[in-house]
């Protein structure tokens, strides 16, 4: 009985791990992609993460100002710097080619 269960488990494992190989032998993915596409995709992901962090920082700064941690002058200076940095990130994102939808194989 143990041997039968083991055989079934072995077959199940082989079926599970080989499924992507059976489906698309040799296919390059959009995620890993061909060499020219990959840097753009990575750049976009990094820029999106940086944009989200910047937006969060703007909101944190607003909250610091509202709770009295930042003076009006300091807030104005920091806020305008942060927004300029955020705008720069958005421009960089806009300048990238449209992202292809990543393929999900798993």
């Amino acid at each position: 009985m143990a041997y039968v269960i083991l055989l079934l488990l072995l077959l199940a494992v082989v079926w599970l791990v080989s499924a992507p190989l059976r489906r698309g032998a040799g296919r390059n993915s959009a995620g890993l992609g061909s060499p020219p596409a990959a840097p753009d995709a990575m750049r976009r992901i990094d820029l999106e993460a940086a944009r989200d962090a910047k937006l969060r920082e703007i909101r944190d700064t607003e909250l610091d100002h509202q709770t009295g941690k930042l003076s009006d002058e300091d807030f104005a200076a920091i806020d305008s710097t942060l927004r300029a940095e955020a705008v720069d990130l958005l421009h960089q994102l806009d300048a990238l080619p449209e992202a292809a939808e990543p393929v999900d194989d798993a």
Binding site: A19, P20, R27, R59
Partner: protein, 744 residues
Amino acid sequence: MALLGRAILLLDLGVCLYGIVASVYGARSRRQDWVDSGRRAVYALAALSVIAFVLLEVAFVRNEFAFKVVAQTSSTTIPLFYKLTAPWSSQQGSLLLWVTLSSVWSTLALYLTQRRLRDIAPYATAVLLGMDGFFVSLASFAANPFQTVPAASAPADGAGLDPLLMHPSMMFHPPMLYTGYTLMAIPFAFAIAALITGKLGPEWIRDTRRFALAAWMCLGFGIILGARWSYTELGWGGYWGWDAVENAALMPWIVCTAFIHSIQIQEKRGMLKVWNVSLVMLFGTLSIFGTFLVRSGVLDSIHAFGASTLGVPFVALLMVMVLTAVGLVIWRRDQLRSEHRLDSLISREAMFLLQNLILVALTFVIFWVTLFPLISQALTGTSVSVGPPAFTPFVVPLALLLMLITGIGPLISWRRATVANLRKQFVYPVGFAVLVTLLVLTLTDAGRKPLAVMMFAFGSFVIGTVAQEFIRGTAARRALTRDFWPVALAALVRRNRRRYGGYIAHLGFAVMLIGVAASSSFQHVRQATLRPGQSVSNDGYVFHYVRPTESVGPERISFGAILNVTKNGHQVVRLHTMQSFYRATNAADGFIGQFFDGNNADSTIGLDAGPLRDIWSVASADTGPLLPLINRGNKVFADEYNAIVTQVKKLPPAEQEAAYNAALAKSNFWNARSLAVNEIAGQYLKHSYPVVFQFIVSPLVTWLWGGALIIFLGGLTSLIPPGLLARRRSPALEPARVAVRELA
């Protein structure tokens, strides 16, 4: 079943090796199909490991003593609950638990990141499978949980579980610790992968931060459960003994605390990249180091598995981890340069940095003092033992500094602060701290312990800071929305989960350390030997020994005491404490003595826990007066047994077993022994034997457990995904997003 278990472990190993090769090949050849196949190897590993672990649990539940591990750590008499926890009480079972948890968390991490981190994930998969493969190898070849003896030579009953491990928290304490350790492997693996690929942008940090936070929560919860176990089970009245294994769990938790804070600086300012990646490497390595201490037996600890041969492979793994981490950080140092510099030394970033330095210093101190016995042994050949006094001169000042910084940090804004703003921020928290300190000094005699008073002051300062943050934040929210206070508060926390989750954790930290300072500095301990009817006083409480108790069960014999506690003539509480003796397997104890072996006993404390003080008691039953009866019983039953065996041996071998059983049944041997044991145990009630008691009155111990729960709640608040709390997609970022779009 054992064969199946052993085969699954070998299959696990094969899956690990295949997954490593497939992932690395897929990454290097840019073949997504191979990368996906490698990731699926992790899924398969998790499924197989869960099956193997279930098989082991079934063996414990079915009392299959042909399994060596079951025979060594279980018996027919232990309750089902403890049969289920017994697998991780052994080296073998806990290795399998490690592999199971690690593969399950790795599966979760890789599943959640399958659409992202596409360049990094294959290498992270390989690292995770490499670490899992290491543990699978140990479980397969060095400490196999499915090792068996031939069915014919399997014992009829097992040796039983260590009585100290029969505690409800054992169901959760080790699994929570292992969950923390194994979750720490995920940021570690992704950090290694990011360094290998050079993709050191903010994405890997964003996607693995939650796993670091989850690891921090689970490890912290596991540590607290261990402290609770120590307080209520070990019978010494303390919750932290600076034991090597306790410290081994604390060190990665402290470093992870530093990382959770400093990562915010990298996210916001692009600073401290080398520092952050080093912290990830450090807590990843320390989590394995903790496992090494538990499993190698190099240091004495009540929590360790004792001497084993696993030390060398663990040292090898640790060396590989450290050398790889250091090498990769040096290789990628140019890409890890900071994008900005500190704007001001009076800023949130500077406070985070200072806090990080204190936390790392604390880790270094704990590491050094914990390993001092080993270092001393290596250098001088003399082993020394270190205890709490070796730690406190360093740890207490650092903890005070840490508490102070915890209060100051949230009051200072990011980037810079002005004197006028600082004054405005500090006045109420400082005023609250001064008020609390004056009250403590006036109403109590705490002044004799200045360090504890400082902790109360700094702790109150943190509580004041957190209260002010919530009040001012809610007020600011109300100014915008005109919501009611509770609605505005809920919205504030929902929209700023990381910030306010962190503040909740700070509150818990302050509450917890106030509890630690009070209970360790103002604890009153009294030992006394009492007979029924006698009393003793401790810190104004009178402990009256009312009467002894005794109970005999299939699993244990318990001798206890009913205590009545009064203060100023008023009834406070009635406590019941007892010592339980579990049947030992040592043949030298004799037929009767094996039920009264003091080496196989545990304590049930009598505890009255309250918000301001705990009354703790433990009884140590002296079985000395019963010894003449026990020895007589041993002799009588040994003579009877030997007579039966002598008679049986005269018969042909084929008839011996049946004759042996028949003779024992005919003489009613086992029932007679049970009656004798009952009768001897009953003597404990008939005679007023003296009992050694320990009575402890400690203030604010409950604050420690309450503080830990608050920290957990804070962590949970920060961890909850936005979708679960938000009314619509990412509303928290929406106003700022709109504002930036307007600017753009």
